[in-house]
C-alpha cells in the first residue's frame, strides 16, 4: 500500500487529511511539525511527503532542504500544501524542485490529481 507522510501543525486539518487520504486508499503517517516530520520521513521512507509551509520549529522549506540533502530521503517526492496564494511563495517552492503544490483550502479531486502526478514521476500540480 502506498504510504504518505503528511506534515501539518493544525490538528483538525491533519485529522481530516488523514481520513481523506485513507478514503483514497493510501496509508497515512502524520507529523505535527517540521522536525518531527523530517525524522519520520527518514525513518519510514514514505512514497510521498505532503508538507505545510508555515509551521513552528521548522518550516516546510527547511524540511524540504534537509530531506533532499540526505542521501536516504532525497528521492522521496515532495508536495507543498500552502495557505498562501502569493505567486512568489509558490514559485519559490517549485523552483526548489518540489514535485507539486496544493493550495488551501484544497479541492479533494485536485489533491488526488497532484498526488498521482507526483507518484508517477513528478507531474507538477
Amino acid at each position: 500500500m502506498t504510504q504518505i507522510l503528511f506534515i501539518e501543525d493544525s490538528l483538525e486539518i491533519r485529522e481530516n487529511m488523514t481520513e481523506i487520504l485513507e478514503l483514497g486508499g493510501y496509508q497515512v503517517l502524520s507529523a505535527a511539525n517540521g522536525k518531527e516530520g523530517l525524522s519520520i520521513a527518514l525513518e519510514h521512507l514514505p512514497q510521498v511527503v505532503l508538507c505545510d509551509i508555515q509551521m513552528p520549529l521548522m518550516n516546510g522549506f527547511e524540511v524540504f532542504k534537509e530531506l533532499k540533502a540526505n542521501p536516504i530521503g532525497a528521492h522521496i517526492p515532495f508536495i507543498f500544501v500552502t495557505a498562501s496564494t502569493e505567486k512568489k511563495e509558490i514559485q519559490a517552492a517549485m523552483s526548489m524542485g518540489a514535485d507539486g503544490y496544493v493550495c488551501k483550502p484544497f479541492d479533494v479531486d485536485e489533491l488526488f490529481k497532484v498526488l498521482k502526478g507526483a507518484l508517477n514521476g513528478g507531474v507538477k500540480g
Binding site: I13, N16, I20, L23, Q54, A83, E86, C103, P105, F106
Partner: protein, 497 residues
C-alpha cells in the same frame, strides 16, 4: 659770483613761469595785466603777449566784473597770499566768452615800489564734471545710502532714496531729525551691528531688519554696512525688501499649510493601505486554514453519511460547502483587486482553444444554476487564440455567474464569435436588470445596485472584469432594462500585441 647766482635764479624762474601747467597772471595796482604765462594764455584762449596791458576784468564773467574791481582794489590795501573766494564756485571767461570753473590762489610782490598781485589759475572743468557725475550717481541711486559719523553718531550724508525710505520730507528734515535707534523695531540690533562691524575682519556686514518709518509704518530692509577711515565712518546702503519678505512669508505659510494637508492625507492613505495590506495577508493565511477544515470536514461528513440516516444532514452539509465556496470567491476577488491595483497582475499569453475553454466554464457554471435555468452556448469562428487564459476564464466565469445570480428560470445566452482578429463575447439574461439611474456606476468598486438586496456579492466582480478586459486591451459595454434583463458585450484582440 653774486651776479652769476642772480642770473641763474632768473633763468630758473623763467623756466618755472614758461613751463608751469598753471595759469599765472600778474596784475599791477592799475588793474591791468602786466604778465601772463603761456599756460594762462592758452587757458583763456589768447595769443602770445595778447593779454598784456588788458584790464584783469577781461578774464572775469561780465556780471561779476564790477564786484571784482572792488575786491581787487581791496586786495592791494592789505595783500597776502591766500586762495581766492573760499567756499565759492569761481568761473573765468575765455576770449570766446565761454565760462569755465577755476580755482585761484593769490600772491603778491613789489618791484620798484610798485605792488604787483599774482593769480595762479587752474581749470577745474574735468574735476568738476567728474565730481558731478559721482554726485548724481549717489543722489539718484536706487539704493538708499548714508554715511554716519561714528564719533558724533550723526548721519552726515544721505541720498534722495535714503530720505524717502524712512519717510522724511527733505534732506534737511532728515539730517536734522534722524535718530537711527528710533527706526529700528529692535533698537539693540543697531548696537550689535556696529559691534560686529568693528570686530569682523572685513569690517563689512549684511543684515535684514524690520524697521519703522516716520509715520509708524513697519517695513523690511536689507542693510549693507562698511566701516572706513579707521572706523570713524560707517557707510550704509539699504534696500526695501518688504515685498520680497511678504511673498516669502506668504509662500512659507502656504508651504506649511500644504505640507500639513499632505502629511494628513498621506497618513490617511497610509492607514488605508496598511489596513488593506493587513486584510490581504490576514485573508490569505488566517482565512484559509479554517476554510480548509470546514471544506474537508464537509466533504468527509457527506461521504460518510448513509442515505437513510443523514439525508437531511447532507443538505446542510452541501450548504456548508457552498458557503465555503462563496467565502473563497470573496477572498479571491479581494486578492485580484489588490493585484490589479498594485499592477501585480502578470499576464501569461499562450495559445489555447477558446471554444473548449468556454465549454469547460459553462460546465462549471451549470453546477450552480438555479432550477429552471440553462445556458445556450454558441461559438463561431476559429477556435485558437493567443491570450491570457486565466483572464479570459475569469471574465467568462464572472459574467455567466452574474447572469445566473441576477435572474430566475430562463435561458442564459453565451455567444463567442472570433472574427478578423477580434473575439466578441456576449452574455445575456432575462433577469432583474440594472436600474437606469445607476447604470453609470456598474463598473465602480464596491457598487451594488439597489435591486440586489438579499443577493450575495461584494460589488467587486464587474470592477475586476473591466480591469481584466482592459489588461487584454479590450472593451466592455452593456445594455440593461430593469425586469427585462441584461446584455454584456466584451471585445478583445485574439492576439495580444
Amino acid at each position: 659770483m653774486k651776479e652769476v647766482q642772480a642770473l641763474e635764479s632768473e633763468a630758473g624762474f623763467k623756466v618755472l613761469f614758461e613751463c608751469a601747467t598753471l595759469g599765472i597772471v600778474v596784475v599791477g595796482e592799475s588793474g591791468n595785466i602786466e604778465l601772463a604765462n603761456p599756460c594762462a594764455e592758452k587757458l583763456f584762449g589768447y595769443g602770445a603777449a595778447e593779454l598784456i596791458g588788458k584790464p584783469l576784468e577781461t578774464l572775469i564773467p561780465q556780471n561779476l566784473r564790477e564786484k571784482h574791481t572792488h575786491f581787487r582794489n581791496g586786495y592791494f590795501e592789505g595783500p597776502k597770499s591766500r586762495p581766492m573766494g573760499v567756499g565759492m564756485e569761481l568761473f573765468a571767461q575765455r576770449k570766446d566768452s565761454h565760462l569755465f570753473p577755476v580755482e585761484i590762489s593769490l600772491g603778491h610782490y613789489q618791484i620798484e615800489n610798485e605792488n604787483l598781485a599774482v593769480a595762479f589759475v587752474s581749470d577745474i572743468s574735468i574735476r568738476k564734471a567728474n565730481q558731478e557725475k559721482y554726485q548724481n550717481l549717489f543722489e539718484n541711486s536706487l539704493a538708499a545710502m548714508y554715511i554716519t559719523d561714528l564719533v558724533t553718531f550723526k548721519v552726515i550724508e544721505v541720498n534722495n532714496k535714503g530720505v524717502e525710505l524712512f519717510g522724511y520730507k527733505s534732506k534737511q528734515d532728515f539730517l536734522q531729525n534722524f535718530v537711527p535707534t528710533n527706526h529700528y523695531l529692535n533698537p539693540k540690533e543697531r548696537a550689535e551691528n556696529i559691534q560686529a562691524l568693528r570686530q569682523n575682519e572685513t569690517h563689512q556686514l549684511t543684515r535684514e531688519h524690520e524697521m519703522i518709518k516716520v509715520d509708524g509704518t513697519r517695513f523690511w530692509v536689507k542693510l549693507f554696512m562698511k566701516l572706513y577711515d579707521d572706523h570713524r565712518y560707517m557707510q550704509l546702503m539699504a534696500i526695501d525688501i518688504s515685498e520680497t519678505k511678504r511673498s516669502q512669508q506668504e509662500l512659507e505659510a502656504m508651504v506649511a499649510e500644504r505640507t500639513f494637508e499632505l502629511t494628513q492625507s498621506l497618513n490617511r492613505e497610509k492607514e488605508l493601505n496598511d489596513m488593506k495590506s493587513r486584510f490581504v495577508s490576514m485573508a490569505s493565511h488566517e482565512f484559509r486554514t479554517p476554510l480548509t477544515t470546514i471544506s474537508s470536514s464537509a466533504f468527509l461528513v457527506e461521504r460518510d453519511s448513509t442515505p437513510e440516516t443523514f439525508e437531511k444532514g447532507k443538505k446542510h452539509l452541501r450548504k456548508i460547502r457552498s458557503s465555503v465556496n462563496n467565502l473563497i470567491g470573496i477572498l479571491d476577488d479581494f486578492l485580484s483587486l489588490e493585484k490589479i491595483e498594485h499592477g501585480k497582475v502578470i499576464l501569461n499569453h499562450q495559445n489555447f482553444d477558446l471554444k473548449q475553454m468556454a465549454l469547460g466554464i459553462v460546465d462549471e457554471v451549470k453546477v450552480i444554476l438555479k432550477p429552471g435555468q440553462h445556458i445556450n452556448y454558441v461559438f463561431e469562428g476559429a477556435r485558437e487564440i493567443h491570450q491570457d487564459v486565466s483572464a479570459v476564464k475569469h471574465i467568462l466565469q464572472n459574467l455567466l455567474t452574474n447572469a445566473s445570480k441576477y435572474s430566475q428560470e430562463g435561458t442564459i445566452r453565451l455567444t463567442l464569435a472570433v472574427q478578423g482578429g477580434t473575439v466578441q463575447l456576449e452574455v445575456s439574461d432575462n433577469g432583474i436588470g440594472i436600474p437606469m439611474e445607476q447604470q453609470e456606476l456598474v463598473f465602480s468598486k464596491f457598487f451594488r445596485a439597489r435591486n440586489t438586496h438579499g443577493i450575495q456579492g461584494t460589488g467587486l466582480g464587474l470592477n475586476i472584469v473591466k480591469n481584466y478586459v482592459e489588461l487584454l486591451k479590450g472593451k466592455i459595454s452593456f445594455a440593461s432594462k430593469p425586469n427585462e434583463g441584461t446584455f454584456f458585450f466584451v471585445e478583445f484582440p485574439t492576439h495580444f500585441a
